[in-house]
């Protein structure tokens, strides 16, 4: 097992070692499980780890490999955000209301991963029903940032980001409704991608806001991200909003575009916001780097950016209020008995949902209720059109857009929990991308003086996930950062 240095092991390298017979999937899975045992009590990324199950899958993968099968992820241990269903295993969404729920079916992304031979280690922590930006809204426990245990890992896919950052899995899936993959990836120093809306099937992803949700990968580098994305994307007849189109081989395109020069836009409105000085400095460095690489950098305008938070916090809660109506104690999940049916509903939901979820359900119900629909939901949906048009117009002039991921690096646990609005405002750079349905990539771009990771976001036109990854790949190669959190290094 000497060949197994988890800290520098990418999926690509692991596949080579597996194919060469230098390691087995059981050894690899075992190594991840040991890492989980050592580090997870500190960072609390996982809600559920099933060793026996993981090793069984690994054994099966090893047998398949011996039989000459070559799944694209055969034997690779992954972590899955706990709002994606794997048949026969718990899916809690980090909510008390689903605490004992066992998934009766596989999400489409899970079927695709199983087909390619991936090994599931377990399910990772999140803000309850993916509502949050810090993973502090988990009903069970907060996840901690491995770079500084007093800080949040970001959210809502904090568990998946931390699992990958700590090498407690070679890759992971998260979901991104307003930044829930990109922001934790940034806070934890890993790569995270929100694909174009409709590229990845949402069937089996517990819905938060249906017109914004998208599943996406976390990995240590762009190549692995591209590989995972290729496996999980593609048309799904079980998702009416899934794009009926062919998905290219992203990994191949990365090589083809290794020296392609792009026109990159910098949206001026994103700099009108209060930026943490080190974030501001870092983005300037990134702009210089792009120029150095020969890309054309120009300013673009996204004039409706300032309305994005309002639009998002009307549309997302409205859809969420509707999507979460089904958790009522009748057919699954927590039931709190009451004197009448209505009382059972009210008690089950009041006890089953946490504060933030209830807040958003209330907000969303209000935005949809008679008399307020036009002023809130409809109005927000119209401004959403303008936000989308801003991007479409910008993409007439540039191929890609570069922005910070978050106005600040990882903040302290508890720092923003008392003020929901402050928490909402921290998603300003990621939210517009979901509203417009665009692909967005978050990749490490440096560190603060306190050694907190910084990240940069690459945004592309609809279905140009390939270009987004291509520019990310060029930046990553040029930067060549070492992103191993101290807690991992200390092992």
């Amino acid at each position: 097992m000497n060949s197994l240095n988890l800290n520098r092991l990418t999926i690509k390298r692991a596949l080579e070692l597996l194919d060469e017979g230098k390691i087995s999937s059981v050894e690899l899975t075992q190594a991840c499980l040991e890492r989980i045992k050592k580090i997870d009590p500190e960072v609390k990324a996982y809600l559920y780890v099933n060793e026996e199950w993981a090793l069984e899958q690994a054994r099966l993968a090893d047998e398949k490999r011996k039989a000459g099968e070559h799944g694209k992820l055969l034997g690779i241990p992954l972590a899955i955000k706990d709002n994606i269903l794997i048949k026969g295993h718990p899916t809690t969404c980090a909510s008390k209301i689903l605490q004992n729920y066992i998934a009766p079916y596989d999400a489409t992304v899970i079927r695709k991963l199983k087909k390619e031979g991936a090994v599931f280690l377990g399910k990772t922590n999140l803000d309850e029903f993916a509502m949050g930006s810090s993973t502090e809204n988990s009903a069970f426990f907060p996840t901690k940032n491995p770079w500084d245990l007093e800080r949040v890992p970001g959210g809502s896919s904090g568990g998946s980001a931390v699992a990958v950052a700590c090498r407690m899995g070679l890759g992971a899936l998260g979901s991104d409704t307003g930044g829930s993959i990109r922001q934790p990836a940034c806070f934890c120093g890993v790569v995270g991608m929100k694909p174009t809306y409709s590229l990845v099937s949402r069937f089996g992803l517990v819905a938060f806001a249906s017109s914004l949700d998208q599943i996406g990968p976390f990995a240590l580098n762009i190549e692995d991200t591209a590989l995972l994305l290729k496996v999980i994307s593609g048309h799904d007849p079980y998702d009416s909003t899934s794009a009926p189109r062919e998905v290219p081989s992203f990994t191949q395109i990365l090589q083809e575009n290794a020296n392609t020069k792009f026109r990159v836009g910098i949206p001026k409105e994103y700099f009108e916001h209060e930026l943490h000085p080190e974030v501001a400095k870092n983005i300037e460095e990134m702009i210089s780097l792009l120029k150095r690489l020969g890309h054309e950098v120009k300013e673009v305008s996204l004039p409706h950016t300032k309305y994005a938070i309002s639009v998002y916090y009307i549309i997302a809660p409205a859809e969420a209020a509707s999507n979460l109506a089904r958790y009522d104690g009748v057919k699954y999940g927590l039931r709190v008995e009451g004197k009448s049916l209505i009382e059972m509903y009210k008690k089950s939901r009041a006890e089953g949902f946490g504060r933030e979820v209830k807040r958003r359900v209330m907000l969303g119900t209000y935005a949809l209720s008679a008399g307020y629909y036009d002023a809130f939901y409809l109005k927000a949906s119209k401004v959403r059109t303008l936000i989308k048009q801003d991007f479409l117009k910008a993409f007439e002039e540039v191929d890609l857009i570069l922005t910070p991921v978050s106005p600040t690096p990882a903040f302290k646990l508890g720092e923003k929990t008392s003020d929901p609005l402050q928490m909402y405002l921290s998603d300003i750079f990621t939210i517009p991308v979901n509203l417009a349905g665009l692909p967005g990539l978050s990749l490490p771009s440096g560190f603060t003086r306190e050694s907190l990771p910084l990240g940069v976001q690459v945004i592309g036109p609809h279905f140009r996930d390939d270009l987004v990854l291509s520019l990310g790949y060029q930046i990553e190669k040029e930067l060549d950062l070492e992103t191993i959190p101290p807690i991992v290094k200390a092992l």
Binding site: N83, I84, L85, T91, C93, L98, Y101, P104, Y105, A107, R202, F203, G204, L205, V206, A207, A209, S210, S211, P237, Y238, D239, S240, T241, A318, E319, A321, S322, A325, R326, D328, V330, K331, Y332, L341, I342, Y345, T365, L368, S369, A370, Y373, Y377
Partner: protein, 477 residues
């Protein structure tokens, strides 16, 4: 003061697609509880709906059949309310931009026709079923019905009597059955009707306070519930009171309506376009194709039956009510070219048995060739019409035997030997001198008595025409 009722009907038609509206579960009626369910129709976390093409196809058929305007782009919307038989606690339905708007249904009441205009036709999913425990404070949920496609057909408030309401329902049922999109079985709930009723002074154009009526599971219920409700509201108005806007349930046992129990919730359905479903687009080609495939509908068929076969409006009306019966009629006429006689036999004999057994023609063993053969046997004198009706037809109907075989096996062939019949007639005259006296004194009606006696002696097989002729000859002579 005279009052007039104003009635609008909301009819739910359960489409007979093989699978549900948004998932591939079976729609078969009567399966064991929760045996036709899946993650999608039980609203498990993470599931998504995918439209059943056939359901749209059926919706378009009805829309075109009633002359409604098809919306080339329609929107599926979520209608929210918490109820245990609605697993997502929202129903996927249509709100703004339904699949079709407008259209009309022509009804006939007391011989005059009238057009009832429609507001809209929209597509939605059905809810599950609740079984209530009589002894314990529990209800039980069965999701088999959850997600079966429904069309809601909303009429304008242009119905002004219970009879018109029933005529509207029957016509609508007949249309959906012709189109093959719904069983139209009110008892099994495949056709459901709610009514909005108000009463206003005759001649007034404003609408009174609207009461919604529910729980009417047959045409009779609809008629009685409406009649009761109109009487109730009229009485209130006469007392100078105003009816309360509310939902009332029809109670079959007392044949009255009463307010739905429990606090009436001010409903706020929080409608919004379902983000899981893209707008439903219907191509012009598809619409045209359906238009071409539309069958002849009851009203057109009726007109044709009157014109082509010389039937009365009454006869044609009954024959076209059910397409299989209309087809049976036409198939028989093709083999036996006397439409009046065929219609007459169907309307009396055939329908008597169908009504007795409460089944429709295609559930019997009757075939057009049997009826054609039976009527031919009467024509060529092999059997009398009485024998045909009383002895042959029941066998054909019950056992599915060809009439010729029934006649042969049971020896029902008509007795037409003049020699034999004359002998019998002479016997009868000899045996009843007093009746002969009556006849000869001018009471010609007694002839029937003599015919009856001859029939008795032949077990009903005597050729009645011949017997009549011989008797008259003998008595007059």
């Amino acid at each position: 003061m005279e009052f007039e009722p104003v009635i609008g009907l909301e009819v739910h038609v359960q489409l007979k697609t093989k699978s549900k509206l948004f998932c591939s579960c079976s729609t078969k009626f009567g399966a064991p509880p929760n045996s036709q369910i899946c993650p999608i129709c039980t609203g498990q976390p993470g599931v998504l709906p995918v439209l059943n093409k056939e359901a749209i196809h059926y919706a378009l058929k009805l829309a075109l059949a009633v002359g409604a305007k098809v919306n080339r782009l329609s929107i599926m919307a979520r209608k929210h309310y918490f109820y245990p038989d609605l697993p997502k606690n929202y129903q996927i339905s249509q709100y703004e931009l339904p699949i079709a708007e407008g259209g009309a249904i022509e009804i006939e009441v007391n011989g005059s026709t009238k057009l009832i205009n429609l507001t809209r036709i929209h597509l939605e999913e059905d809810a599950g079923k609740l079984v209530h425990d009589e002894k314990k404070p529990y209800s039980y949920v069965d999701f088999n019905r959850t997600g079966i496609p429904l069309l809601e057909i909303v009429s304008k408030p242009e119905i002004h009597s219970p009879e018109e309401a029933v005529a509207y329902l029957k016509t609508l049922r007949s249309i959906v059955r012709y189109l093959g999109i719904c069983d139209g079985n009110m008892e099994e709930g495949s056709l459901r009707c709610d009514a909005n009723v108000s009463v206003r002074p005759k001649g007034s154009s404003s609408l009174g306070v609207k009461v919604e009526l529910k729980n009417m599971n047959s045409f009779k219920h609809v008629e009685r519930a409406l009649a009761f409700e109109i009487k109730r509201q009229t009485a209130l108005l006469l007392e100078g009171k105003t009816p309360v806007q509310e939902t009332r349930l029809y109670d079959e046992a007392t044949q009255t309506t009463h307010p739905m129990r429990g606090k009436e919730e001010a409903h706020d359905y929080c409608y919004f376009p379902d983000p899981d479903l893209i707008e439903v687009r219907v191509s012009e080609d598809w619409i045209e194709k359906i238009r071409e495939e539309l069958p002849e509908l009851p009203s057109a068929k009726k007109a044709r039956f009157i014109k082509e076969y010389g039937l009365s409006s009454y006869e044609a009306g009954i024959l076209v009510e059910e397409k299989p019966l209309a087809d049976f009629f036409e198939d028989t006429v093709r083999l036996y070219a006397k439409p009046k006689a065929v219609a007459n036999f169907i309307l009396t004999e055939v329908l008597r048995y169908l009504n007795r057994d409460n089944i429709s023609i295609e559930q019997t063993q009757l075939k057009p060739e049997f009826l054609a053969e039976l009527l031919s046997l009467v024509d060529d004198g092999t059997i009398s019409i009485t024998i045909a009706k009383q002895q042959v037809f029941p066998e054909v109907y019950e056992k599915g035997l060809p009439p010729k075989r029934v006649v042969e096996e049971r020896g029902l062939k008509q007795e037409s030997s003049e020699e034999l019949l004359r002998k019998l007639c002479e016997e009868v005259i000899k045996e009843n001198p007093s009746e002969v006296e009556k006849y000869r004194s001018g009471k010609k009606g007694v002839l029937g008595f003599f015919v009856g006696q001859v029939m008795k002696k032949t077990g009903g097989k005597a050729n009645p025409k011949l017997v009549n002729q011989i008797l008259t000859e003998l008595l007059e002579g």
